[in-house]
């Protein structure tokens, strides 16, 4: 410790640097081990992921919505495997049963000592178990949401990153395309396409190698086509904005100096650095895709029979609203819960991983 000086700058709790030009020889001695220890930062370095996860865990609403999302996934993908009834299975003699009601044949089987699983929500007019149909319907809805968001993620991020990275006239032309697509009324185009594409797609399904079209359904394919044509523009705008800022960073210049190709810079440096935005935007896209699908299915333009979707289940139940209200409320409540849970999950992820995006 140097002796007290009249003019000194305090730099630590018990350390002062005297204000003069005399060099203090003590300053040039090698640091002892204990001094080196002090220089080590006390806190462990926090990575992007652990920081985000920590923030996410603190958010009670987001954690609750995550639990609900996981439960809905379980309900729609795992539970049907253990459920004794198939969604398309028509049980003769069990048409139009109320919840937990048994048909005569089922009662006879019960008398004989067999175990008959109850129809938790009854059966519809064709003798199909409604609970099984709702499980299948929600799995269709969730799958549509996931696949559509994946399509939007791939197209939107590639388009936005290319426009932002190359800039100049490439950017101008690409963003003008985005502006135009943005003004196209998407619902009208979806309806138009699903009406007109039905026959060409059905003809295509007859050809070898295209049999999967029938399995997925013409309505769903039209929905996916429209999503890949129109819905990615929001994502493209967001990604472009991020890339415009990121490409001025030093590490991009360094990568370029080291001879990295354009595609490598976009893939490895730019897109990986807007991963937070990508996750959040994709998650928030899922509920809106589910929303669109249920709307179209309700109008009879989405999935084709016998595959159920929550929208088409609600539409068929509409005729019997006065006699069997539960048939309508079950799919209605399920879809509202799914959309709400994904919305809240997206909001939570945004607060945790991308606080800047908060609108």
């Amino acid at each position: 410790m140097s002796q007290k000086q009249p003019f000194a700058i305090k730099v630590g709790p018990d350390k002062e640097i005297p204000l003069n030009f005399h060099l203090n020889p003590e300053d040039f001695e090698p640091a002892s081990d204990s001094e080196k220890e002090e220089l080590v930062t006390m806190r462990e370095s926090v990575s992007f992921w652990s920081d985000g996860i920590r923030r996410f865990r603190k958010n009670k609403l987001a954690m609750a919505s995550l639990v609900v999302v996981i439960f809905m996934m379980f309900f729609s993908f795992v539970l049907p495997r253990f459920y004794p009834y198939h969604y398309a299975q028509q049980i003769r003699g069990s048409e139009g049963l109320a919840p937990f009601e048994y048909s005569e044949t089922e009662l006879a089987a019960k008398e004989a000592g067999e175990k008959v699983f109850p129809h938790v929500l009854g059966t519809d007019t064709l003798g199909r178990d409604i609970m099984a149909r709702i499980m299948m319907g929600s799995s269709v809805s969730i799958l549509v949401g996931l696949v559509a968001s994946a399509i939007i993620l791939i197209i939107g991020s590639t388009f936005g990153a290319i426009a932002g990275y190359f800039g100049g006239w490439v950017d101008i032309i690409m963003m003008r395309i985005v502006d135009i697509i943005y003004t196209v009324p998407d619902f009208l185009i979806i309806i138009l396409l699903s009406v007109t594409l039905k026959h060409p797609l059905m003809a295509l399904a007859e050809k070898p190698g295209f049999g999967w079209i029938n399995r997925v359904g013409v309505g769903l394919i039209s929905i996916f086509i429209v999503f890949s044509l129109l819905y990615w523009v929001g994502m493209a705008r967001i990604v472009r904005g991020q890339v415009l800022a990121l490409k001025e960073q030093e590490y991009i210049a360094a990568a370029r100096a080291l001879g990295a190709s354009h595609s490598r810079i976009i893939r490895k440096h730019l897109l990986t650095n807007c991963i937070g935005t990508l996750i959040v935007t994709t998650t928030l896209q899922i509920p809106s895709s589910i929303f669109t699908e249920s709307f179209l299915s309700f109008l009879g333009l989405g999935v084709s029979a016998p595959m159920p979707s929550l929208g088409s289940l609600a539409a068929t139940a509409l005729d019997g609203i006065y006699t069997y209200p539960y048939r309508l409320f079950a799919p209605a409540v399920t879809i509202s819960i799914i959309i709400l849970a994904f919305n809240l999950l997206g909001d939570g992820l945004r607060d945790a991983f991308d606080p800047k995006l908060k609108s």
């Binding site: 594409l197 709307f295 009879g300 209605a332 879809i335 509202s336």
Partner: protein, 305 residues
């Protein structure tokens, strides 16, 4: 400013051109062409019809004729309602939809702005939590769920409101609630966050410091600034009301444009589908352009260019 308006209108025109071109070519994907009906016409009739409507000409000529017809505002003739012009159908159905939709837009904007402002002014209190909770649920519940729940409880259980038709003021209540529920929730969320933003601005403190009364500060400073983003939502709001009307009019059997559009889809009345699509697209695109221009006009802070 003029440059911006011209640019915005040009984009709108290009979009319209694309939508109508897409519509034209999609028509070729329909099997049997536009004259497909339950009873297939004879070869001679078909030929005569094709000649009459110019469908025997090469595609580029047909495209030119189609575009010229569109420019004149002629959307063709309906297949199922023999001899009725699509224009005629649209203009008898549109006023009905416009009345319901207009009320819904009014309710959504007025209630949305009020609820959002009330929530922002009472931030963190019980009323704020209630409004935030309701509006979060509101944007998660699809339109058909709102319709059917209303119909079941108000129409069937309590039997206080009629469930179909549109003949008295009572008939408007449920469709308007159903149609305005989602946009109202959206606007109140938007309004709340903008209002919170504005309330934290320096000019609000200045207004308070110079002795402006609380209400004057609220209406003249806070509300005026916070309401601007709601203006940008008016374009999407119109598009939402149109698509929402498809479902609402189907459920409540209202004889509006949405109802006729849906029955044209189920009845495969292709000219009516195409005509209504182009008309509605025209409406939405024009509205979007107008809203964008109005927004730039009312907000002096926005950079013109």
């Amino acid at each position: 400013m003029a440059k911006y308006i011209v640019k915005r209108m040009a984009i709108g025109m290009v979009t319209l051109l694309i939508v109508s071109t897409v519509t034209f070519f999609l028509m070729f994907l329909v099997p049997g062409g536009p004259f497909l009906a339950e009873k297939a016409p004879s070869a001679a009739t078909l030929k005569a019809l094709e000649e009459k409507y110019g469908l025997d000409k090469p595609v580029p000529v047909q495209y030119k004729n189609y575009m010229l017809r569109l420019l004149k505002g002629d959307l063709g003739t309906s297949l199922k309602q023999r001899g009725r012009e699509v224009n005629d159908i649209i203009f008898t159905r549109l006023p009905v939809s416009a009345r319901v939709g207009g009320w819904a837009i009014l309710v959504a904007v007025v209630l949305g702005v009020t609820l959002g402002s009330v929530a922002a002014l009472n931030r963190g209190k019980a009323i704020d939590n209630v409004i935030v909770f309701l509006s979060t649920c509101g944007i998660a519940v699809p339109g058909f769920v709102v319709c059917t729940v209303l119909m079941y409880f108000l129409g069937a259980k309590l039997n206080i409101l009629p469930t179909f038709g549109l003949t008295s003021y009572k008939h408007y209540i449920m469709p308007v609630i159903a149609l305005s529920f989602y946009p109202m929730s959206y606007i109140s969320r938007l309004m709340r966050s903008c209002m919170l933003d504005v309330l934290g601005q320096d000019y609000m403190r200045t207004a308070k410091a110079k002795g402006v009364s609380q209400w004057a500060a609220l209406f003249k400073h806070a509300l005026r600034n916070a309401i601007l983003p709601v203006v940008t939502y008016l374009g999407p709001l119109l598009a939402y009301t149109l698509t929402g009307s498809f479902i609402v009019e189907k459920i409540f059997t209202i004889p509006g444009l949405g109802d006729s559009f849906i029955s044209s889809i189920t009845g495969r009345d292709y000219p009516l589908i195409m005509g209504t699509t182009i008309f509605l697209a025209f409406l939405v695109i024009t509205m979007n352009v107008v809203v964008d221009i109005v927004y730039k006009l009312v907000d002096p802070r926005i950079k013109l260019g």
